[in-house]
């Protein structure tokens, strides 16, 4: 089979899966699943973990991973919440409230970028394996969040804050609009910019990227900064929807985000992945999650299902020869002491 046909096949297969899951859930619970109320609530629910999935996708394209996205999301939300509660205050209304919401959003993005920079330095400059570096840094971010809040939820935002997670823009849920804009933006970044192309080429073969005079250190750092900023946006959406910020919100989202990326056809070894695939995977997961909810499947059973699905998808991918580097070790990372570090 030609490469083009196979890749088209991956996305086509995902579209079929999304439709099958939708139809299956509609048949199992027709009046509730297809109700306007359910469909709307799904549109409000998925963007927060979908944005986290975009964040992990970008990192996975380089052959790395970002397990700290949930930690970054919560830490960013807590900093934003501090601004909204302590400086703006719950009573803020009108342009004042909007201004403070924007300021808190900007602060969250800065926190996300700084956290991502920290990850990027650990991985690109110090040469730590991404999976361990971000596992550790995720705990650090969560720890800082706990230290700032004492572990309790922060509440009492200006009413305008709710718009971000619960509002409508031209009749479309705001989080959905946000996700759509981000997905399109990341898709554009990956396919139409030099940075995006370098991400994919680096993910395919980090050593060859170095030999081709690609500024690998800079590419990697920017990838994790981007991932951190996406996580911060997800954190703001979660905060707005929950009308509170807490150090341990969305702890099951990390598995979900990785699962969506892998289901969406992102090669866990790096180098291949399409945003359209991730979007289709997000929809499948939301249909499934919502349907299981209606069938009153317990949360614990759901984690079991997510885990099994992740393993199953990776087995299918390896059997079809996609997404696995069989019989060939992953190319060595550039050794840090040889890194140029001058990549602007």
């Amino acid at each position: 089979m030609s490469i083009a046909a196979r890749f088209a096949g991956t996305e086509a297969r995902l579209a079929v899966i999304a439709v099958v899951v939708f139809v299956a859930m509609a048949l199992l619970s027709p009046d509730r699943f297809l109700s306007v109320q359910n469909l709307t609530s799904m549109a409000f629910q998925f963007p927060e973990f979908a944005i986290l999935a975009l964040a992990t996708t970008v990192a996975m394209l380089t052959g790395g991973i970002d397990l700290s996205v949930v930690g970054i999301a919560n830490l960013s939300a807590i900093i934003a919440a501090t601004i909204l509660i302590q400086i703006a205050g719950p009573a803020a209304v009108g342009p004042d409230a909007v201004l403070w919401l924007a300021a808190s959003m900007a602060a969250a993005l800065v926190v996300g970028a700084v956290a991502g920079l920290f990850n990027g330095i650990l991985i690109a400059v110090l040469g730590l394996p991404a999976i361990l570096a971000t596992l550790g840094s995720g705990l650090i971010f969560t720890g800082i969040a706990v230290a700032l809040t004492g572990g309790s939820a922060m509440m009492g935002f200006p009413a305008a804050t709710a718009w971000l997670g619960n509002g409508l823009l031209f009749g479309v849920p705001v989080p959905l609009v946000l996700f759509a804009v981000l997905a399109l933006g990341i898709g554009f970044l990956l396919t139409r910019t030099g940075f995006g192309l370098k991400i994919q080429m680096f993910g395919t073969n980090p050593l060859a990227a170095r030999f081709a005079a690609v500024n690998v250190t800079s590419v990697l750092i920017r990838v994790y900064v981007l991932s951190g900023m996406l996580a911060a946006i997800a954190g703001m959406v979660i905060m707005s929807r929950a009308n509170s910020a807490k150090a341990d919100y969305g702890s099951s989202y990390i598995l979900l985000a990785v699962l969506i990326a892998v289901l969406g056809g992102v090669n866990p070894y790096g180098g291949y992945g399409k945003i359209i695939g991730v979007v289709l995977a997000v929809l499948s997961m939301q249909f499934l999650s919502s349907g299981l909810n209606m069938l009153q499947v317990s949360n614990f059973a759901r984690e079991l299902i997510w885990g099994s699905l992740l393993i199953f998808v990776m087995i299918v991918n390896s059997k079809t020869g996609f997404g696995m580097r069989r019989g060939k070790p992953a190319p060595a990372r550039p050794r840090p002491e040889q890194s140029s570090g001058s990549g602007r």
Binding site: G194, Q200, T204, N205, A208, A213, V214
Partner: protein, 498 residues
């Protein structure tokens, strides 16, 4: 298996294999006697690999007959082929890098014997005996990953011998070896022959083939085009059969005396790799650097491109100092580097041919905010692929679908599209078939004619002599000798080995 007294060890007749309509092998037949060394020569894509896979039972033939010791073999599988004593040593050796030499040699015999528990003493004894049989000394307790390539290959040969090999098939055994190591390997093959073990030597390095084999079989486009005693073949005749045409070897034209100084390397040194390296490179000059494995030639090449950080010294291009140890600075100064190991260092295998070229030109086609002018980028890349005559069905195909020679041209195209001043080619024709090799040499000649400085690092002596104006010889990290291009090959070989 009981062999009929006069039947050859392996006999093939009319072997044919097609892959989804494409004929990989057509009506190929020859035989190998016990203790005989047969050379299977052919360019990449001539069907050599398919033939090996069929003999090893990895692929099934569509038609034709194969017999081992007179016994017809139908439905050959890797297990039955191995049981009959057919052992293949693939290019990557398929060793366990984290295990010791003794374990690598002894384990498959130990497992094959059906023991449930591994007896370390027995494994060690077997490994020791096998190494002795070849008359080589390798530390039994060394981990295989720590060994040089030549020793890894010996371990792979020993592993085959430890399991009662009757025919050892060596797939391109010499590509990673220096001249001296090749000589050792040929000595080992002679020993194997004396022991009654047959060897099928698959190679496109021509000189070696003639030296060690009694019999030569040449494949071209899946067909056997020539067969006969090795004595009847010489290099020119082999090349003609493999490529179907004559490949002329002519030394480069003399450099004009007013050629400008392009690159000056002074006092370049790195502890443990190379020391006191001084040389000049002029515009339009092709400079060869040769030396045995461990002479520091590859470290020096990488240092010129910033991939190895030298301790002291300077590299100047066009009179300007190039920051050392920084590939981006080197590339910016107009130095290009085509690596030795194309598959791991040169190419993005699963990416398209276009992207593999385009990655070198992203900056030139960047617009505001890093958005690429994709049309311009692809047109530029396509243009370079055309200029270097890369043969590809589609430019959007994965680059790994190309043959070695075309892959090398893709890496070259990436660098040439950046209009470099100096191009460092490390092993430009390693793993490239005869026809493509001549074309790559043609490209080198053309580039130098355009005023580029080219540095060719190679241990392929004929290649150096036909492409280079001057050749520097490295030994123990120092440049010990300098020869003019067009020197006799024997002379260069002597100076290298002395």
């Amino acid at each position: 298996m009981p062999a009929a007294a006069d039947a050859p060890l392996i006999a093939m007749r009319g072997v044919t294999k097609t892959y989804s309509g494409i004929t990989a092998l057509e009506d190929v037949g020859f035989s190998i006697a016990a203790g005989e060394a047969v050379s299977l020569a052919g360019e990449n894509g001539s069907g050599k690999s398919t033939l090996i896979k069929i003999l090893a039972g990895v692929e099934q033939r569509d038609s034709g007959e194969i017999s081992f010791g007179g016994q017809p073999q139908n439905g050959l599988t890797p297990r039955t082929a191995a049981a009959a004593g057919v052992k293949v040593i693939f290019q990557d050796f398929s060793l366990f890098p984290n295990l010791t030499v003794a374990e690598n040699i002894g384990f498959s015999a130990e497992l094959g014997a059906g023991h449930r528990l591994v007896n370390r003493g027995r494994v060690r004894a077997l490994a020791e005996a096998t190494l002795q049989r070849l008359g080589v000394q390798i530390d039994l307790d060394a981990r295989v990953e720590s060994l040089p390539v030549a020793h890894k290959q010996l371990v792979a040969i020993c592993r085959a011998l430890a399991t009662e090999a009757r025919l050892i098939i060596m797939d391109e055994p010499t590509t990673a070896l220096t001249g001296r190591e090749v000589a050792t390997l040929l000595g080992i093959i002679r020993r194997l022959k004396a022991d009654g073990v047959a060897v099928l030597f698959v190679s496109h390095k021509l000189a070696e083939v003639l030296e060690v084999c009694e019999h030569v079989v040449v494949l071209r486009n899946g067909r056997k085009v020539a067969e006969g005693p090795a004595a009847e073949f010489d290099q020119a005749k082999l090349t003609r059969h493999m490529t179907g045409r004559d490949v002329a070897d002519a030394p480069p034209e003399a450099l004009p005396p007013d050629a400008p100084l392009l690159m000056a390397v002074r006092g370049l040194a790195k502890a443990g790799a190379f020391a006191a390296v001084d040389f000049d490179l002029h515009g339009g000059e092709v400079l060869g650097i040769s030396g045995l494995l461990g002479s520091g030639r590859t470290s020096l090449a990488k240092a010129l491109f910033g991939l190895v950080i030298p301790d002291t010294g300077s590299v100047r291009v066009d009179g300007r100092d190039v920051a050392l140890g920084d590939p981006l600075a080197a590339a910016h100064a107009g130095i290009g580097y085509v690596p030795e190991d194309r598959l791991t260092e040169g190419l993005f295998l699963t990416q398209s041919i276009l992207r593999n070229v385009g990655i070198g030109r992203l900056e030139a086609h960047g617009r505001a905010a890093g958005v690429l002018d994709l049309a311009g980028l692809w047109a530029d890349a396509t243009d370079w692929l055309k200029r270097l005559a890369v043969k590809a069905p589609r430019v959007t195909a994965e680059v790994r679908s190309l043959s070695g020679g075309n892959q090398q041209r893709v890496v070259l195209a990436r660098w040439l599209s950046r209009s470099p001043r100096v191009l460092v080619l490390n092993g430009p024709s390693v793993g490239v078939d005869v026809g493509s090799k001549a074309e790559i040499h043609g490209i080198i000649r053309e580039l130098s004619a355009q005023g580029l400085g080219v540095i060719v690092i190679s241990d392929d002596l004929p290649e150096l002599l036909t492409t280079c104006h001057r050749i520097l010889v490295m030994k123990d990290g120092r440049i010990t000798d300098e020869l003019a291009g067009g020197t006799a090959e024997a002379d260069l070989a002597r100076r290298l080995a002395s």
